[in-house]
């Protein structure tokens, strides 16, 4: 079984963070957790850490600026660097936002089969209502993106869902080198977390590596709501979910295909956490 490092970008809400950590410790026992707190937000105090009471949780002392929609990959890179500097023992790093909750066990066994879990959609120059807003020439011509593509020997970048991407330690070390060389450790003006890992994943796919999908189901790209029924189906993992894409969004990674058994987490806003508690509780008691 893989030893996992969850890189969490906390948003200052201690209650949600506690729930995330509790879910990780419930479904992926033995994992390590590294938390990045955005600059100018309050890190969890000793009372929170006491409540979490987890020796597997590490707070990254380096707080980088985070701005919505301008790229947060530098924060995950910062967490990775910190974990390596602390000599933490892990095989895979899993990228989590502040909204993700694990829903079932078995992740460490699943990730062992892949070195990369990422959605890798090639830059699409067909303009349609469904085409992702990130596929635009300004991004392609961004100096850092050009530098990244040059380092990877690719003509175009890829895009993919940020939540639940995972990488082997070696692959993420490669990503870290490319990122540091091409981008600053700050918001870059575009969603780096949706482009840089996906492009690196595509590079590995070209070279013959099997790429898995991210392990998190998100409703951000599809016209679907994560209801109790959806959550039950995700936890069970059978069949498929079908929904139209949201205009201007990335193609939904887990919609329209039987890939639900490989979904281990959901991205849920805090006001929907109640259904997570209900469904997870039900399934554990059934």
């Amino acid at each position: 079984m893989d030893k996992l490092l969850f890189s969490i970008l906390a948003d200052g809400n201690s209650e949600i963070l506690e729930r995330q950590i509790s879910a990780i410790n419930r479904f992926s026992l033995g994992s390590l957790i590294c938390i990045h707190h955005a600059k100018d937000t309050t890190p969890p105090g000793p009372d929170v850490l006491d409540r979490i009471a987890a020796g597997n949780v590490f707070i990254n002392p380096n707080s980088y600026a985070v701005r919505p929609h301008e790229g947060v990959l530098h924060a995950h890179v910062g967490n990775f660097k910190y974990a390596v500097a602390q000599s933490l023992d892990f095989d895979r790093i899993v990228l989590f936002s502040a909204q993700e909750l694990l829903i079932k066990s078995g992740l460490g066994e699943y990730t062992k089969r892949f070195t990369i879990g990422a959605q890798t959609e090639l830059y699409e120059n067909i303009e349609t209502a469904n085409n992702w807003a990130g596929f635009r020439p300004e991004v392609l011509n961004f100096p850092g993106v050009k530098q990244m593509l040059s380092l990877l020997g690719l003509p175009l970048f890829a895009g993919g869902q940020a939540e639940g991407q995972f990488f082997s330690r070696d692959v993420f070390a490669h990503l870290e080198r490319v990122f540091i060389e091409a981008f600053p450790m700050e918001p870059c003006g575009f969603p780096t977390e949706q482009i840089v890992p996906a492009t690196l994943g595509m590079r590995h796919g070209f070279a013959g590596t099997n790429i898995s999908l991210p392990i998190t189901f998100t409703a951000a790209s599809a016209q679907i709501e994560i209801s109790e029924g959806v959550l039950r189906q995700l936890a069970k993992g059978d069949g498929a979910l079908h929904a139209r894409a949201r205009p201007g969004a990335l193609r939904p990674a887990h919609i329209g295909a039987c890939v639900l058994k490989n979904v281990y987490a959901v991205s849920l806003p805090a006001d929907r956490h109640e259904i997570w508690s209900k469904v997870v509780g039900e399934l554990e008691n059934s």
Partner: protein
């Protein structure tokens, strides 16, 4: 061992169809092949019968009309019904086209793990695919078909390489016959009817795999010996930009090669690509 039935509609080039039978017999030995000859190729029937004279090949005596882009699912339905009539026992039926070839062994074993293999895309006019048509969505027969499955819109996907277990295909045939004529329907019925049934089943928790055929017509990528080698190795992924108004390939940008056993397009002529595949049959 899973018993496989290939349904193969043909309309030209009997010698090339023979080549395809030899290809199937090499990579999927023990399978039965049922061939539908298009009504427009009636003049070639004797030649087809001569070239396709193999013990595991059935020539469907019914020859229905086929028209390009107007639907050929009725030919697969007819092939299925004829196989039943002849008492052919099978566990999985595979829908093939006549310009594809198998490239590796292991298909029967692979399919035994899934009740079906289909490409299921929800009807979405924003998806820039010619397969999503308002006239089809509003067609009375289509609406009745969709409603009979408890759905509100149709689904569509790649036709080539879909596969189904006998029970599911019987259900697909039943809803087809109840709603459509044994004739071209005016839309690509083979891209609509099976995926829509697959969608309804998947909502109830039935798992499906991707179709077993990698097609090169919807993206900028072209079928080459190198690509065939990668498919045979079953590793990695390929990336290519989509042809405008084409469907989104189920096999582009994701690592699905483990489940790909057939490739399209292989020209219906003695060409380098066909010779390359023949060279793999040793």
């Amino acid at each position: 061992m899973t018993k496989v039935l290939f349904s193969l509609p043909v309309h030209e080039m009997p010698a090339i169809v023979r080549d395809q039978i030899e290809n199937i017999n090499h990579f999927c030995p023990g399978a039965t092949i049922v061939i539908h000859i298009s009504a427009g190729a009636a003049a070639l029937e004797d030649e087809f019968r001569r070239q396709c004279d193999f013990p595991n090949v059935l020539i469907n005596p019914s020859s229905y009309e086929t028209r390009w882009n107007e639907g050929i699912f009725h030919t697969h339905v007819s092939n299925y019904l004829y196989a039943l009539e002849r008492g052919v026992a099978f566990d999985r039926i595979v829908l093939l086209s006549s310009n594809e070839l198998l490239v590796k062994p292991g298909l029967a074993e692979y399919m035994s793990k899934f009740a079906m293999g289909s490409h299921v895309q929800i009807y979405d006019l924003a998806a820039d695919w010619g397969g999503f048509r308002t006239d089809v969505a509003s067609d009375r027969s289509v609406r009745k078909f969709v409603a009979s499955l408890g759905l509100t819109s149709y689904f569509a996907g790649q036709a080539e390489g879909q596969f189904f277990n006998e029970r599911i295909f019987a259900r697909i045939v039943r809803v087809f016959v109840e709603n459509f004529p044994m004739a071209p329907c005016g839309f690509n019925s083979e891209e609509v009817i099976p995926p829509t049934v697959a969608a309804s089943l998947s909502m109830a928790g039935v798992n499906y795999a991707h179709p077993i055929t990698f097609c090169d017509y919807s993206t900028a990528i072209r079928m080459t010996p190198e690509l065939i080698d990668q498919i045979r190795a079953g590793k990695g992924a390929v990336y290519a930009q989509r042809v405008p108004r084409s469907m989104r390939s189920p096999h582009i940008g994701v690592s699905t090669f483990e489940g790909v056993f057939s490739v399209k397009r292989v020209p219906r002529e003695d060409c380098e690509l066909r010779r390359y595949v023949r060279g793999l049959m040793v």
